[in-house]
Subunit: 161 residues, 6 copies
């Protein structure tokens, strides 16, 4: 099967792909990101989390709202009605893992919604911690899996250790 | 010097930091991101680039526009008037490096603008190439340097090889 | 029947409720708000209304547009396609009553659209009259009724005098 | 002194008031709102608040972000750069009090930013509690005080009991 | 058949037309605009186009994104999910022709999406060329054709020369 | 003096021009547009205008709000704080003339704000009248004059009849 870029015309110009002939199906996408920081910075997040949890609560809200802004952020993405977005955090020794699950019933996938949700949640954590550590790094943003749609199920292959 | 989270009150609640007493200065921030993909996918981008360059042109526009949307995306960021944003791409064997430079004259830094610009440019590249490769990974989003403001100059330390 | 918060997970975190399994139905919501002001301020609105009616025309447009911005304003609201919004004003002796009716065909209600429409219309009246009276008060914002959806019809009970 | 509507021309048409000749000063505005609900609904919010506090954390974020969206919501408001927004909640027996403080250095006041912040925070509480009680009422949205600018200090007069 | 304004009530007030009883159909709209400039300015665009084509690539992206912003720009327009937008340019001796095609499956037409796309693409060309020529004129923005929906097919009549 | 495109780098890529070294001055721009329609359609607008004037009131609000959205619409435009926008209409026999005046105190001009204001006001008139006449044409969108800034005063030359 030949690889192709779907968002450009044969002459190379950008376009929004025509999905008018596609049928709506339920689609789900799961994306991940990791925010790496010093253990001492992470302690601040944890200790805030014991109080009112606002760093992660704000990042979660930011990620959910960003999923809804995808058509406004990613130029060739279609507008779609999201059925659900959830964001979870996994706090490790010197990093925070972010997992977003987006669901939609429509003609186009929700990969970009899930990926944008984890990215903006990660950027929000950076913003709220940057006074403590400017060297925080956001890494490993990828699509973990998707289901639904014509191209069917995708599951990222992780290398065994 | 004690590390602190500036965007939360002593009781742990989120707040937008008060910058009314600060003086406006010229500030610059440079951020980087890397989009890793298969060489065959990158060939598609390059070959499109020989035609009209729309994949990277669209990603550049998306990144610049995203820098202007930071107050709308990152909940506790201040609105600020950006003086300049530029985005450059470095195409390597199986990755695209993204560098954004943001400049502002104001009371608060432009780190989030530069970081958001590279993140959204990277997400846009993902979007335009995902039909060819779903496993594309966005990685190493970080602040390379900043100048201006009370906290002065920051330059990321890179480990020597 | 046990009362529950639907927008938080059992562990207390915010989430956008999953509506993928719900069926689309026609839904309507009616909301109200009241803007209380001095009779002399209201005279200014009325006299403007005899000319070009722009105070109330601007408030109406603001309310209609705000209904379309709900997913961007209320963090956990779903994006939905609104079929209709209308806003009416009832001018009394020292207050303006605002009534918004929102209609949508979808999986989730339009209560927040109607409530946001009256709230932003009220804020716009405040804005346009605040040079004349800063003490204007917005009060009694509530859902008058809703129809459609699984939870069916709701009609607010008003206390008899 | 004659009362006038500043946002309409002598012929009655809407306009954005010209502030080009005004000098920037530090301005502050404090606004309040009250969300009335049944004690049993409030118990749900409190109990959630003992876990992760997400209902009020989400409402706080929504209010802060809404303050930044004022020029996009209230048609004739100027764009301005907000220096600070904070939102506090006072939980009583069957209501939640909301207080927002907005600060800006500029040519125009931040009353609408503070009023919009409390309104959208209140609407967000409604949204998160509406599955438990549709009859929740938002009431008493008003400007508590403002300082700065040509018109100087305003302090709302409260009736003595 | 009597001509009527659909977006105003019998008493003259603005409203968003109720489309809840309409059936979704596939709809398409094609709109055009012309940007007139001096031949020497057009040479700059063409010569840029030989390099990376960014003037027209940026205008194309701006037009596509603007089509998605219609509900936020045109007060009484419905939100709708666009299936496709494409923008083409025709470079003549001293003008650039812009053609936008928008497709949607829904209860309301996409005329405003196509018209807004060509208008914002034209404004973007103005913006990128205004340092060279402030007298650039945007002209002849019109609907070329539409299909689908209850009112059926429309094709603009062009006068024969 | 050599003509140049300011928004592209020497290699042809899009950029937001750096204005950090510029001094803020008061700037004004006046733009015009014309909406051509059949006399019978214009009669509907006029007759609506005798009632509540909502067609033109809505178009005016849309134009003013669009001026504030320029950084979000025109990719390489700077965010700026607008001091004032006014929109006037001139009703002729079979056309409506639109004039927008935008004022800002800043480092960059407000031409795009004035041009976008007339364009979106014109598109809104189209939207509100399209049920009566699909062939309405928007034409002659141009910059009438600008003052302030380094490039000084510009006044469009109109051909004498």
């Amino acid at each position: 099967m030949e690889k192709k870029l779907s968002h450009v015309t044969p002459s190379g110009a950008a376009r929004m792909v025509d999905i008018s002939a596609k049928n709506p199906t339920v689609r789900e996408a799961i994306a991940k990101a990791t925010v790496k920081m010093q253990t001492s910075t992470l302690e601040l997040v944890k200790s805030n989390s014991l109080k009112k949890g606002d760093v992660l609560a704000v990042a979660r809200v930011a990620g959910i709202m960003a999923a809804k802004k995808v058509p406004d952020l990613i130029p060739l993405c279609h507008t779609l009605n999201i059925d659900s977005v959830t964001i979870d955090f996994k706090i490790k020794k010197s990093s925070i893992g972010i997992i977003a699950t987006a669901v939609s019933t429509g003609k186009t996938g929700v990969e970009m919604e899930a990926l944008t949700a984890v990215s903006v949640a990660a950027l929000t954590i950076y913003d709220m911690c940057k006074a403590a550590e400017k060297g925080i790094t956001i890494t490993d943003i990828y699509l973990e899996s998707k289901t639904g749609g014509k191209s069917g199920t995708y599951k990222r292959k992780h290398l065994s250790p």
